[in-house]
């Protein structure tokens, strides 16, 4: 494995991790938004607080990791993507800022009125952020980001692939969040809450699955290079995501929530990996390959040192955090 491929793989692990963990946090905004009135939705909103409160900042760091690995490992392509996709990037960023701040403010809001305001901001921005990040991915995957100069400011993210990318991102986030929240509610012994979440998660899963496979049609015309990769090298991942998606729905139907978390994670990881593998060896599709985009070898080697250190310093406490938050003792509070 070449140096730039190793760094690209490590970077893409970050993309998948952000899509899964950051995605599950963003997705909870969907259920928060549709939880109903302040009295009826109180139980669900409190569950959202408890579920993502301890982990959202750690999950958010995956985004920082991806950005830093990108600009350090593949600097010119980072500058190009930021230059062309400045609008969706800014809109995603706006969502990130509003989501984080409003979530923290809502938790300590003194009045119901303020909590409702912050709650609406939190939930709304939780939906726009994945949409625009998905649109960014679509712009890159459909070859609309030139390696040099600036591509079209608008059509680079207002196009079929970006639109489907955005919708799929929102859908997968909501699916993940739904499965995790249902499992949390079930573990905490809140039967009626778990039942309502299960119903809605099933709906989200059906719609998202349909959109993912419907997207394959327009992508064939709009992003031929990606489509070719999805039909070829990435085909096993596409199949895997389909199987895991169906398994998740079946497990939800049969109320096997703990295992459904695993299949949901696999399904989404497979979708995201399918995109990555599908567009390999391009970093900016049809414009710049990973090899040509790579920065200096010494820097790439340095990044691998950072990745190694992350494995030692970050993963163990991260696992500890997740184990604690997914344990019985934490759910009771």
């Amino acid at each position: 494995m070449t140096l730039e491929l190793a760094v690209a793989a490590a970077l893409f692990v970050g993309v998948v991790a952000y899509a899964l963990f950051g995605g599950a946090d963003f997705g909870s905004g969907f259920y928060d938004l549709t939880a109903g009135g302040s009295r009826g939705g109180a139980e669900l909103r409190t569950l959202v607080d408890h579920s993502i409160g301890p982990v959202w900042e750690a999950n958010h760091v995956w985004l920082i990791y991806v950005l830093v690995m990108w600009w350090t490992g593949f600097p010119e392509s980072f500058a190009s993507a930021m230059n062309t996709l400045i609008l969706p990037m800014l809109l995603a960023l706006l969502g990130i800022v509003l989501r984080g701040a409003a979530f923290a403010f809502r938790k300590f809001a003194p009045t119901l009125g303020q909590a409702r305001l912050y709650g609406a901001v939190f939930a709304g921005s939780s939906l726009i952020t994945p949409y625009f990040l998905g649109a960014v991915a679509g712009g890159i995957a459909s070859g609309r980001v030139p390696a040099e100069g600036r591509g079209d400011l608008w059509s680079s993210w207002l196009n079929p692939t970006s639109t489907f990318g955005g919708v799929i991102a929102v859908g997968t986030c909501a699916l993940l969040a739904g499965v995790f929240l249902t499992a949390d509610a079930d573990r905490a012994g809140r039967a009626s809450l778990a039942a309502s979440l299960r119903r809605r998660t099933l709906g989200v899963g059906l719609v998202t699955g349909a959109v993912v496979f419907a997207a394959l049609v327009p992508i064939t015309h709009d992003a031929p290079t990606l489509a070719e990769g999805l039909r070829g090298r990435a085909a096993p991942l596409v199949v895997l995501s389909g199987l895991c998606g169906v398994a998740t729905l079946v497990l939800l139907l049969r109320r096997r929530f703990a295992i459904a978390r695993v299949t949901a994670v696999l399904a989404v990881a497979a979708v995201v990996s399918g995109w990555g593998v599908g567009q390999y060896p391009w970093l900016l599709v049809d414009e710049l390959t990973l090899r040509d985009a790579a920065g200096a070898d010494a820097t790439l080697a340095g990044l691998l040192v950072v990745v190694g250190l992350a494995g030692v310093l970050v993963l163990p406490p991260l696992v500890y955090l997740f184990r604690l938050t997914q344990s019985e003792a934490w759910s009771e509070h």
Binding site: R39, A42, D49, G53, P54, E57, A58, H60, V61, Y65, L67, V68, W71, T72, G73, F74, P75, F78, A79, S80, M82, N83, I86, M89, L90, L93, I96, V97, L98, R99, G100, A101, A102, F103, A104, F105, R106, K107, F108, A109, P110, T111, L112, G113, Q114, A115, A298, T299, G302, V306, A310, L313, V314, P317, L318, L321, L324, T325, A329, H333
Partner: protein
């Protein structure tokens, strides 16, 4: 308008890319806002650690109560710090493609290490904030240690990039291409350590004085219980040490500028001409090339800036006009920082001298008022210091290598972005202040856990009461 801006107006912006000025202001706004929160990320965990440690190991319930509240406050501050830091990550690429494209792989590695520390910090923050009552107390306390260490490492990493912008290392330029990249040289550059020390200690000054000031304000309103005295003294001790060490660090750091960035030193000192020995020029502005309204103290400039009785401060006349920074902004910002720093150092000395003589300075209302003012003053000094070093480096973004105008993207619409960002940050500031003040009010009213107003606990405890509060 403030006359210092006249100098800025002389810069021929018309010839520069449309995106340059708004990009600069955008970066200044988002950095200037984030740096305050970053200070809390760096320094607050150490203070919480001391309070929490007293609570756990000395059975000090008041200290434990402080730790519990500070943890909740840090939950709010770190959240907005995390997102405002993310803004900067995006802006590196959105605003400065000419820097990140060619130099991303030169300056990126320290950011990768910073990302690593931020990861550790965020994980242990989650464990600490939500560990109350869930993790055994002594282990729970330990969660603060990696948090505090990660804050320090992260600061070093970010500062090493800024030090690299001041003293570029780790690459060569051949035929317009960046070659021979050595990212480790950036991370371990000789320029980084002192600059890091300066910022690290500044974080303790800012957080120490601000937090102490909050409790001083409480005492001014007659709340003179042990909670307020400890809440004042603990951060004030941190601030004291920091305020006394800072002038020394600043002085040593300043000495090297004569060699590394003479134009910046000339602007700091408002040295229009090379004089041997150089005077210390207090105040003053450069108007039409003439220094006005300055108080010159003979020889002192050479002594302070060069550690010598004769060595001159190299004057601006030796710097080509195209390479001169905006002199007045740099000079005023620098002297504001030094002035406030000196004032704070003297003030803490007076405070502890009075204590040593057996007086209780906290009984004096003017002491308390000064303590309240020290927080905002420390913030002003912090901002002034960053303005001095950043504006003083201009017109370069990478000193002597890359001009800021060549790093900026061509985004004339950035003005709209700047207006939007200013509005957003103003709203976030208001939101944070309202939430933090309401938390303090509810704590004073005797509430402990501050349940969310829509939660079942609130409903069970009579959610309507809070609705009354709002009216």
């Amino acid at each position: 308008m403030d006359p210092t801006w006249l100098d800025l107006a002389q810069v021929p912006w018309a010839a520069e890319p449309a995106g340059l000025l708004p990009a600069r202001q955008q970066m200044a706004l988002s950095l200037g806002w984030h740096i305050i929160l970053a200070c809390f990320g760096v320094a607050f965990p150490a203070m919480i650690l001391v309070a929490h440690w007293r609570g756990v190991y000395r059975g000090d319930e008041v200290a434990l109560g402080l730790a519990r509240r500070w943890a909740k406050v840090s939950g709010v501050l770190f959240a907005i710090g995390a997102v405002s830091g993310t803004v900067l990550s995006f802006e590196m690429g959105l605003l400065w493609p000419g820097l990140m494209g060619p130099f991303g792989d030169v300056l990126g590695l320290p950011f990768a290490f910073e990302g690593l520390s931020f990861f550790v910090e965020a994980i242990f923050l989650g464990l600490y904030l939500y560990g109350w009552g869930r993790i055994p107390p002594k282990r729970h306390l330990l969660m603060l240690v990696p948090m505090a260490l990660a804050g320090v490492v992260g600061t070093y990493c970010v500062i090493s990039v800024n030090a690299w912008m001041n003293m570029p290392v780790g690459f060569a330029i051949e035929g317009g291409e960046v070659v021979d990249v050595d990212p480790w040289a950036v991370l371990f550059s000789s320029g980084a350590l002192l600059q890091f020390a300066h910022m690290w200690v500044a974080a303790y000054m800012v957080v120490g004085f601000v937090v102490a000031g909050v409790y001083a304000a409480g005492m001014l309103r007659g709340r003179r219980d042990r909670h307020h005295r400890l809440g004042f003294t603990l951060p004030f001790v941190f601030a004291t040490v920091a305020a006394l060490v800072q002038p020394l660090i600043g002085h040593v750091l300043g000495l090297r500028i004569a060699d590394t960035q003479p134009a910046k030193l000339a602007a700091f000192e408002l040295a229009t001409e090379t004089e041997s020995p150089s005077p210390l020029r207090l105040g003053g502005l450069l108007v039409d090339g003439e220094v006005r309204w300055a108080l010159d103290i003979p020889r002192l400039g050479s002594i302070i800036a060069r550690n010598s009785f004769t060595e001159p401060v190299q004057g601006l006349e030796t710097i080509p006009p195209a390479d001169r920074p905006p002199v007045n902004v740099t000079h005023v910002a620098f002297q504001t920082m030094v002035g406030i720093g000196t004032l704070l150092a003297v003030a803490v000395l007076v405070y502890w001298f009075a204590r040593w003589r057996g007086r209780d300075p906290l009984a004096n209302r003017w002491t308390l008022r000064a303590a309240v003012a020290a927080g905002p003053l420390a913030v002003v000094a912090l901002e002034a210091g960053w303005i001095a070093t950043e504006v003083g480096r201009q017109p370069w973004v990478v000193y002597g290598v890359l001009r800021t105008e060549d790093a900026a993207g061509d985004n004339p619409q950035v003005w709209i972005l700047l207006a939007a960002t200013a509005t957003l940050y103003a709203l976030l500031t208001v939101g944070a202040v309202v939430v933090l003040r309401s938390m303090a009010r509810r704590w004073r009213a005797g509430e402990q856990d501050l349940p969310s107003p829509y939660g079942p606990e609130a409903a069970a405890a009579g959610g309507g009461r809070r609705a009354d509060d709002a009216s």
